[in-house]
């Protein structure tokens, strides 16, 4: 009933896009087939700014590589809330998110000697390990998510501009710098697709469900969106 959905008032539609009204399928294997509401902590409400006191992630990682466990503890104390937020948005289950964090900190400890500060910043390196762990975890249990791809293919092409802008739900946009400018240049549909995939770990199919849009359109929006982001951020 795409036509009906489009008549929903914008504010409700935004909440729906972000997963408030929908009950999300659980993504953890031990509760296969069960449905659970999205964790109420995963709200896109204003984000407290990051701890402004200086912290040298690269030096702490170098200390980990030398076998200094207190350095890992310092990294954990500094970043556990940030990394838990990143993992929880993707796996949508606290226990599963903590498993991801546990494995990620093991990987950080064991791979600290492979971290190369010339190729990127330590905090980003840790964050990538957490995101990759979370994505692998949800994709590995992908068979538990029920989807109706045919239904999604049959949907009329939604008006991509009519959807609420997911980015508006976030404060802290100023910290995005050039990326904010480049996201701004995308139309709403492409922007929502990129955010739902990157922040919420949604598959093409899940994005199509959330936006009530045909699967083919979602794939095309993402392809074109990423191409123009690359051009803009070059």
């Amino acid at each position: 009933m795409p036509a009906g959905r489009r008549r929903v008032a914008p504010a409700s539609r935004l909440r729906q896009t972000l997963g408030y009204h929908r009950r999300q399928p659980c993504r953890v294997p031990h509760r296969r087939g069960a449905w659970c509401p999205i964790d109420p902590l995963v709200r896109p409400t204003p984000v407290p700014s990051n701890d402004p006191t200086p912290f040298d992630h690269n030096a702490a990682l170098a200390a980990c590589a030398r076998g200094d466990q207190s350095a890992l503890r310092r990294l954990y104390e500094r970043e556990n809330r940030f990394l838990m937020g990143v993992a929880l948005r993707i796996v949508r289950d606290r226990a599963a998110a903590e498993d991801v964090l546990h494995d990620a900190f093991m990987a950080i400890w064991n791979r600290a000697n492979t971290f190369d500060p010339h190729r990127g910043e330590g905090r980003g390196w840790m964050c990538s390990i957490v995101r990759n762990g979370a994505l692998s975890a949800v994709r590995a249990s992908a068979r538990t998510v029920s989807v109706d791809e045919e239904f999604l293919d049959e949907l009329q092409d939604a008006d991509p501009q009519a959807a609420p802008d997911m980015l508006d739900a976030f404060s802290m946009r100023s910290t995005l710098g050039q990326l904010d400018h480049c996201l701004e240049r995308l139309d709403v549909a492409k922007r929502n697709c990129v955010l739902l995939a990157y922040l919420d770990g949604c598959t093409h199919t899940e994005i199509a469900e959330r936006l009530s849009a045909p699967l083919g359109s979602v794939k095309a929006w993402i392809r074109r969106g990423m191409a123009s982001l690359k051009e803009c951020l070059a």
Partner: protein
């Protein structure tokens, strides 16, 4: 305006829209494909600022203790390549996690096995390291003593959920679906004749899935993947 194949794959990997199988393929390619690796690092750096939009979430206070318990009891002796430390690293869970996470486990075993005579007298032709999909903890090693017989050896057993069984599967690239190699018990080595199957090929997929008690009712994997890996010719 479109991305070339490598850029597109890297973008989809970092964005998170790839399936479990595609993610594993990318992660296997990364150590040996410098162009893909660079593209992934560039996309990670580009999209990283988006994680600032996520609300931090406090993990449970017990999580650090859990991580600390998984760390080696003493400060780790530096890298596995240290001469004379062969038996130490072979028994080190930290090394195995490191090796699997960086995708070098199979290669390292290939390099070391002949010199330390691990597999004497019969020289195996294929080796598979089965790793958790999250990529940080290898659970089993598969070793063939002839093309028609394989051994499945536990490294770090994971418990089976109640009322579930572990099932072992294989699939060569040219096959349409995985074939069951039977049920396995955690921590218990098992030898399996492959008489009914074509000889093992390089890059053949092996996986252990969590299935209903006494195995998949459909003859195909239905549950989440616990460990997965591909064969490497020795």
């Amino acid at each position: 305006m479109s991305l070339d194949e490598t850029q597109q794959l890297a973008a989809d990997y970092v964005l998170g829209t790839l399936s479990a199988g595609q993610r594993i393929e990318v992660e296997e390619r990364l150590p040996r494909d410098a162009m893909l690796r660079t593209a992934v690092q560039q996309w990670e750096a580009k999209l990283q600022p988006l994680t600032q939009l996520v609300e931090p979430v406090e993990p449970s206070p017990a999580l650090w203790q859990r991580i600390e318990n998984s760390l080696p009891a003493k400060p780790r002796a530096v890298p596995a390549t240290k001469p004379g430390g062969l038996s130490h690293w072979w028994n080190s869970v930290a090394f195995w996690r490191f090796a699997a996470a960086t995708g070098f486990a199979a290669a390292s075993v290939m390099a070391i096995a002949p010199t330390v005579g691990l597999f004497a007298p019969a020289r195996p032709q294929f080796m598979v390291v089965l790793v958790a999909p999250q990529g940080t903890s290898p659970g089993w090693v598969v070793q063939t003593s002839s093309a028609q017989r394989l051994k499945l050896i536990p490294v770090a057993p994971e418990p089976v959920p109640a009322q579930r069984s572990l099932q072992f599967w294989t699939k060569a690239d040219s096959w349409s679906a995985p074939v069951s190699l039977g049920l396995v018990e955690p921590g218990k080595p098992i030898e399996i004749p492959l008489d009914q199957l074509p000889p093992i090929q390089p890059n053949q997929l092996f996986e252990i899935t969590v299935e209903p008690y006494n195995g998949s009712p459909t003859g195909r994997p239905t549950g989440p993947i616990q460990f997965i890996g591909r064969s490497v010719q020795l």
